[in-house]
């Protein structure tokens, strides 16, 4: 599964794109983040406070409970600051 990072999430993780094998037990975005956090301390720190993390599944805004079964692309990023 392709995971994208933007903003300070990208800066802290050190890359903008990762292809990751997601365990079958990971059903929603929250499970995916828990999986990432179990892999490495950096993810654990980045995703410690999920109130500052926004998520898009297949380029549509989603939330922590969104199911990821049909996801091709999941993006994790901070609140948006355009304009």
């Amino acid at each position: 599964m392709r995971i994208l990072y933007f903003g300070w999430v990208r800066s802290k993780i050190g890359t903008g794109t990762q292809d990751i094998e997601v365990p079958n037990a990971a059903k929603n975005v929250r499970d995916l983040i828990n999986h990432l956090s179990s892999l490495d301390n950096t993810y654990e720190q980045v995703f410690r406070d999920l109130t500052v993390i926004r998520v898009a599944v297949n380029q549509e805004m989603a939330d922590m409970e969104t199911l990821i079964e049909d996801a091709k692309e999941i993006a994790l990023f901070p609140p948006m600051t355009g304009g």
């Binding site: 933007f6 903003g7 990208r10 993006a75 990023f77 948006m80 600051t81 355009g82 304009g83």
Partner: protein, 169 residues
Amino acid sequence: MIRVQEEDFDAGKEIRALTRGKKRIGGVASFIGLVRESTNNETISSLTLEHYPGMTEKILEQIEKDARERWSLHEVLVIHRIGRMEPGEQIVLVVTTSAHREAALKSCQFLIDKLKTGAPFWKQEDTPKGSHWVTERPDDINASERWDTETKAECARFNHGSGDLTKAS
């Protein structure tokens, strides 16, 4: 019409191109956002805008669609720049056109309010002390959410029945 680009834009040229020959348009509203030289008393040497290619365009198109559902609009143009910019440079242009001023003015503000917190852009500021990511401003969230409480019926009263609409291509 939505454009995400690194290049600067010429608002006058864009507006002339948008309205040329469209004689049902009676009002044009525009907003241009510029890079400020300081925020919170900190000097900004440059600003870098990152975005989510593909999703950015989809979200901006959706915001334009939402605006068209609320007001009777003719042409709509949003140009948002990405990449590195210096203070004084233009970041964003929003142009809305309608038969009458109210729909154009209101929808222009709607579009800029919605895109600031709803479209996947992230700003990084470079200052003499180093660079940092810009955080979401409560005022910007309020400005966006305010439109959600304003019903579409209330917006419709600004439309004055401007007849059949020319959809932007």
